[in-house]
């Protein structure tokens, strides 16, 4: 009998610890598929962040390292510079990357470090219990913005992809979403493209994924998809913000 669908080699069979409706497990699988399809398994090192995905290393059958909050791009820099033949994936959430780790992500991007960052944006802190994130929308309630994020006191959400696209060195920056099948396909394609570019030594690649967090949004999984489409996607428009071959940048 022919197998038509199977678990990627780079993903083990441990059940995900994530909540129902969460996007982390979907993206983990896409990463594992991309790693397998590109034949990168033997060289891949995944960096787990601090946040709900702190245990991402439970699932990847690759080499793994857990990094301090926000510091994954610095850890990735060390890993990649020490072993340029490795494939380094920094997997980070929005509290980790867009708050604690703003310096690290901006400077890794500015240096054009040849690794890939997968940035999960769910507009909230997950593991610590639904606090306001740098990506929390104006008016969005959270456990530390119980009256809704008020820009007078808490400012506005940070658009990381757009911000990184002001830098010269990054080669590929795309924002995708997990709201429907078409966008899931785009997300997988973006992750695979980023890893392929890294493998070819193109430079810094960044995929931002809008991802649902039903538990901390206080919505069920279906309502969460609706909220992503009605509120998140207008604030964080999908699209390719940078897509350059190295030759184009040098000129």
């Amino acid at each position: 009998m022919q197998k038509v669908f199977e678990r990627p080699k780079s993903l083990n069979d441990k059940p995900f610890h994530y909540c129902p409706g969460c996007g982390h497990g979907i993206v983990h699988r896409m990463m594992a598929e991309a790693i397998d399809e590109l034949g990168l398994h033997d060289r891949t090192i995944v960096i787990s962040p601090v946040g709900c995905s702190v245990f991402a290393y439970w699932y990847f059958e690759t080499d793994n390292v857990q990094a301090a909050h926000g510091r994954a791009p610095a850890v990735g820099t060390g890993l990649k510079r020490a072993n340029p033949d490795s494939i380094v994936i920094s997997y980070q959430g929005d509290g980790d990357l867009a708050s604690s780790g703003t310096a690290e992500i901006i400077h890794a991007a500015a240096r054009g470090e040849n690794f890939t960052v997968i940035f999960i944006n769910n507009a909230i802190y997950g593991m610590t219990g639904g606090q306001m994130a740098p990506t929390t929308l104006v008016g969005q309630t959270s456990s530390t913005s119980p009256y809704g994020r008020d820009p007078k006191f808490a400012g506005y959400p940070i658009h990381v992809s757009e911000m990184l696209a002001t830098l010269k060195a990054p080669r590929y920056i795309e924002r995708t979403s997990l709201n429907n099948v078409a966008n899931l396909t785009r997300t997988k394609r973006a992750i695979k493209k980023a890893l392929d570019m890294q493998n070819k030594g193109e430079g810094f690649t960044f995929v931002e994924v809008l991802s649902p967090c039903p538990t901390n949004w206080g919505l069920d999984p279906n309502e969460s998809i609706d909220w992503m489409e009605s509120s998140m996607m207008p604030e964080f428009p999908l699209g390719v913000f940078r897509d350059l071959k190295s030759a184009e940048v040098r000129s």
């Binding site: 702190v54 059958e61 301090a68 510091r71 990735g76 820099t77 060390g78 310096a103 690290e104």
Partner: protein, 348 residues
């Protein structure tokens, strides 16, 4: 062949010859010569890389990533920058990673100044970062030792999979002395059992410091402390000077030990039986030596370029058997031999 080198440059060259061809750092006085030296040398070495990090927070985390591959890497900084590295040092200890951090201490607290001090002793030896961990701390007293102890730091880091700090002060970083370096210092340690080199024909390796379960975390901490106990037993280093018949024992490390050596000689000329203990490892601390000398000495004097930080370790070591006094200078002032002699006589 001896060559005349500045402390900061000598330790950099020693690190390179010990195989640390990866350097991550951020400018801060008085250790800038380390980064500048590395930025000249490392790009000319195959596989070498110099990266000027965005912060000291990033520097130490770049080291964290680099040493995960099993290679040797170095970072260096001075007091305010070392404060920023404390998070990373705790993670290095928690993940059992071999890393070497050079600390060229300057005046503090706050921005302080760029003069030499030894006021980061607590930070280096008592934690600084969070959690139950220990870091080996080596204290050179000459430019030659800046190189020798840097090489030793890499060996101890690799042997025990633990962060090791070379803690010197601004004087040692800036001063020039003749120094003899070997062509290379072999790395005897193989990290293929745990290093992240890609899961080729083996199971994936994982480096982490998180243990959610209380018993699992406690077991892990106990494992770390068994290692720290072994380091205390095997790696404690010190130097004694004229202690055989010493009735006054002065304890000093780093540059201050050279002042104290002169003070001991002056005291001896006056018929006062003085001696010196110089801790070379600030952690583990040479407690047993001081405890032994407590049986013969009338009193101890800790002499430091701080308001008295190591003095507490001297007190703990002599266990109340003898009085322990303190003499120190701060702000970048270096004690003179005459001052130390006067401090001893005052206690006679």
């Amino acid at each position: 062949m001896k060559v005349l080198m500045k402390g900061n440059e000598a330790l950099s060259e020693a690190a390179i010859r010990a195989g640390a061809t990866l350097y991550f750092g951020y400018p801060i006085t008085p250790q800038n010569e380390v980064g500048e030296y590395m930025s000249r040398r490392l790009p000319t070495i195959p596989g070498g890389a110099y990266i000027q990090a965005e912060t000291e927070v990033a520097s130490i985390n770049m080291v964290y990533g680099a040493v995960c591959t099993g290679r040797r890497a170095l970072t260096s900084s001075s007091s305010p920058g070392i404060s920023l590295m404390m998070e990373g040092i705790s993670y290095l200890a928690g993940a059992e990673l071999p890393a070497v951090v050079v600390s060229i201490m300057r005046g503090g607290p706050g921005l302080g100044n760029i003069n030499p001090e030894q006021a980061d002793y607590f930070q280096a030896t008592k934690g600084g970062g969070h959690g139950s961990y220990r870091m080996v701390v080596l204290a050179p007293a000459s430019v030659q030792e800046m190189t020798d102890l840097t090489v030793l730091a890499f060996d101890l880091a690799d042997k025990y999979r633990n962060p090791v700090m070379v803690a010197a002060d601004g004087n040692l970083g800036q001063m020039m002395e003749p120094v003899e370096l070997k062509d290379s210092y072999p790395n005897l340690y193989n990290h293929s059992e745990w290093a992240l080199t890609g899961a080729r024909d083996r199971k994936g390796h994982t480096i982490t410091s998180i243990y959610l379960d209380a018993d699992e975390m406690e077991d892990y901490i106990h494992k770390l402390y068994r290692k720290y106990g072994e380091i205390e037993r095997v790696e404690t280093r010190h130097e004694e000077y004229l202690t055989d018949d010493a009735e006054v024992v002065i304890v000093a490390y780093g540059i201050v030990s050279r002042v104290v050596r002169s003070a001991v000689e002056l005291l001896r000329q006056e018929g006062i039986k003085a001696g010196m203990v110089r801790p070379i490892t600030l952690w583990p601390y040479p407690k047993a030596v001081l405890r032994r000398l407590a049986d013969q000495a009338k009193f101890f004097l800790a002499c430091e370029m701080s308001m008295g930080q190591m003095v507490e370790d001297v007190q703990l070591s002599v266990e109340g058997h003898r009085p322990v006094y303190f003499y120190g200078r701060s702000g970048g002032n270096v004690p003179t031999p005459a001052e130390v002699v006067a401090a001893v006589k005052q206690r006679m």
